[in-house]
């Protein structure tokens, strides 16, 4: 196959936009798995829940999906703190998170998916917004607005969270909690409260990521599964808990996937993330920007 430069350039740009979206999907896991050591494999299910929340608000009130996701942020935050309360009381306090904690989140993933299937069926759902149709064209480069808008909002969210974590007391406490609980207590911060807030934030990001997802493509309940491999590949590759590393990894994965689907067909792209993950685990488990 002859690789034309225009096609390659287009694929790279599409990949960067896709990468911005992947960053929004992975940031929640980057917080929960990277900083809190909670292996929340149900995160993609929460994202699908976010998509359906945006779908319901958009289709019944005609509100823009991103605005409706912002409205849903507090709800998802509370949902997250609630899930953490259960997780803490049942598993973390008993020191039982390895086997049963994982099974708990796996069951949660399954319950959310099947519940959505029972309520909404397996039909694809989509939202309506002014920016879903049009595309900006600069020579060989296409910038579809339905990719560009999530990309921009996602970068904003990332920057906002990075500022929050590095500048505020609570933010710094979140970064510290996985490193040294005792030291954190000596700084008069309650580790349980800090972790609850952090997990709430990580689930809240799923509301926005879900809205992005349903803007980019129609959604049905089992779509979330495709993202499990991607999300963890990105989080591990980015070096657990580092946002700049995670963004780099997202964009890298976005570009590689976009090139793969342009030149070999879209049915191969799920395998790319796994290849990424395996190579990372085998070669450099601390990720590209990891400290260890």
């Amino acid at each position: 196959m002859e690789i034309s430069l225009d096609l390659l350039l287009g694929a790279v740009v599409a990949g960067i936009l896709l990468g911005g979206f992947y960053a929004a999907v992975s940031i929640g896991v980057s917080i929960s798995f990277g900083m809190l050591d909670i292996v929340n494999i149900a995160h993609p299910a929460f994202i699908i829940l976010g998509s359906y929340a945006a779908y319901i608000i958009n289709s019944s009130f005609g509100i823009d999906p991103i605005v409706s996701a912002v409205i849903m942020l507090p709800v998802f935050f509370l949902l997250g703190t609630g899930v953490y309360e259960v997780y803490y009381a049942v598993f973390e306090r008993r020191g039982d998170e390895a086997l049963r904690g994982l099974a708990f989140f796996f069951g949660l993933l399954f319950i959310i998916e099947v519940a959505l299937i029972l309520v909404f069926g397996v039909d694809y759902r989509f939202v309506e917004a002014a920016y879903i149709g049009p595309t900006l064209r600069y020579g060989p480069i296409d910038l579809p607005l339905r990719m560009l808008v999530p990309f921009a909002v996602s970068i904003l969210m990332l920057a906002g969270l990075q500022l929050y974590l590095s500048r505020t007391f609570t933010g710094r406490a979140i970064m510290a909690v996985s490193q040294d609980r005792l030291a954190l207590q000596l700084m008069s911060a309650n580790p349980g409260r800090i972790k609850r807030i952090a997990f709430g934030i990580s689930i809240a990001t799923a509301a926005l990521a879900g809205a992005f997802l349903i803007i980019i493509q129609p959604v049905e309940p089992s779509v979330g599964r495709d993202y499990i491999g991607r999300v963890f590949a990105i989080t591990v590759l980015g070096g657990l808990g580092s946002f700049p590393g995670m963004l780099t990894a997202s964009i890298l994965l976005g570009i590689v996937e976009s090139i793969t689907s342009t030149f070999y067909g879209p049915s191969w792209s799920p395998a790319v993330a796994f290849g990424f993950l395996l190579v990372t685990l085998a070669v450099r488990p601390s990720g590209i920007m990891g400290r260890r």
């Binding site: 008993r94 049963r100 099974a103 099947v114 590949a233 591990v236 685990l281």
Partner: protein, 335 residues
């Protein structure tokens, strides 16, 4: 019970069960029984890694479907007898399990779990893109209608799966009572301490993944003959993973009895629910039971029974003590 005696008893129970099933009024019982037996194999296989060493495998569907698809691939090449196909399916999945374990088991446990989760997605992608085994359209398998001696082919499939279930349980119990099993338990309780005490942890974990993967592949190998039409979406169905994890956790993970009880209980409930209610709802039931048991009864049904018996015994002791305390103490006779 000595291992040899246990094997003999297990085989005898299996044979008796088969004899009993021949009285079944129609073939539906073989259809349903096959599924329950298949879950006994899957749950026991999962438990060898998950329950004994504490490493969670989410990719059951990948190992299972790999066994099934190796049958499909060979079916197109040359006709082989079913037991041989089962063996080949086991070898293929076992090798994948070994490779998977080698790549990820040197890291923290969570990485292994995540990698297995991704393995299922990628295997599905590979099979979907492999036209030789049908690709996304799926593959048809023609099975002979009759088998000599047994009559209908479904009876033969049932018998093969029954034998696999007996073998899987026998292996699981032998492991429990052996050096290997004590090594596994040491890894589960404290891996660093085990390593420091001289347990070859990586090698033992690789044995567990290989064995567990191989048994899952063996359970999957007869599937194409059972369903006669196999496509990636049904072979890699997430229900296999959820069930294989839920059954040991509901039954109890520390011994071979747990997965057996869990598989029989949950498998039967599902067969009934699928017939009477809907199949989506019955998966929801499995998810809820899994989360419910993990939260409320962390040691499963076996643990519940054990603590109930301990409580009864404690009450018995208490009653004896009370009766004893009501009686006057025997006075010591002066010398």
């Amino acid at each position: 019970m000595r291992p040899l005696t246990f094997w003999l008893v297990a085989i005898a129970v299996g044979a008796a069960f088969f004899g009993l099933s021949l009285l079944a009024p129609n073939q539906y019982y073989f259809q349903a029984g096959y599924v329950v037996l298949q879950y006994i194999v899957l749950a026991t296989a999962w438990n060898i890694l998950g329950g004994y060493t504490g490493y969670v495998n989410f990719g059951v569907a990948a190992f299972f479907a790999l066994g099934a698809y190796s049958t499909v691939a060979l079916y197109k090449l040359l006709p082989l007898p079913l037991p041989l196909l089962v063996l080949i399916g086991g070898v293929v999945s076992g090798v994948v399990g070994l490779g998977m374990g080698y790549l990820t088991l040197r890291l923290r446990g969570a990485f292994f779990s995540i990698a297995t989760l991704a393995l299922a997605v990628v295997m599905e992608t590979l099979i979907t893109n492999w036209d030789y085994v049908g690709g996304s359209r799926g593959a048809y398998i023609l099975r002979p209608a009759q088998v000599p001696l047994l009559g209908n082919y479904i009876v033969y499939l049932f018998l093969v799966m029954l034998a696999l279930a007996v073998i899987a349980i026998g292996i699981a119990r032998s492991i429990e009572r052996s050096r290997l099993g004590f090594g596994f338990a040491a890894i589960r309780d404290d891996e660093q301490a085990a390593e420091a005490a001289g347990v070859p942890t990586l090698r033992l974990k690789l044995v567990a993944t290989t064995l567990s993967g191989a048994l899952m592949g063996m359970a999957g190998a007869p599937l194409p003959y059972y369903v006669t039409y196999l496509d990636p979406a049904s072979g890699f169905n997430l229900a296999y993973a959820v069930n294989s994890i839920a059954m040991p956790l509901i039954g109890g993970t520390t011994s071979w009895v747990g997965p057996l009880i869990g598989a029989i209980f949950l498998g039967t409930v599902q067969q009934l629910a699928t017939v009477t209610i809907s199949s989506a709802l019955n998966l929801l039931i499995v998810g809820l039971l899994l989360v419910g048991f993990v939260v409320i009864a962390p040691n499963g049904i076996v643990g519940l029974v054990a603590s109930l018996r301990a409580a009864m015994r404690a009450r018995g002791v208490h009653r004896q003590w009370k009766r004893a305390s009501r009686e006057p103490l025997p006075r010591e006779s002066p010398r």
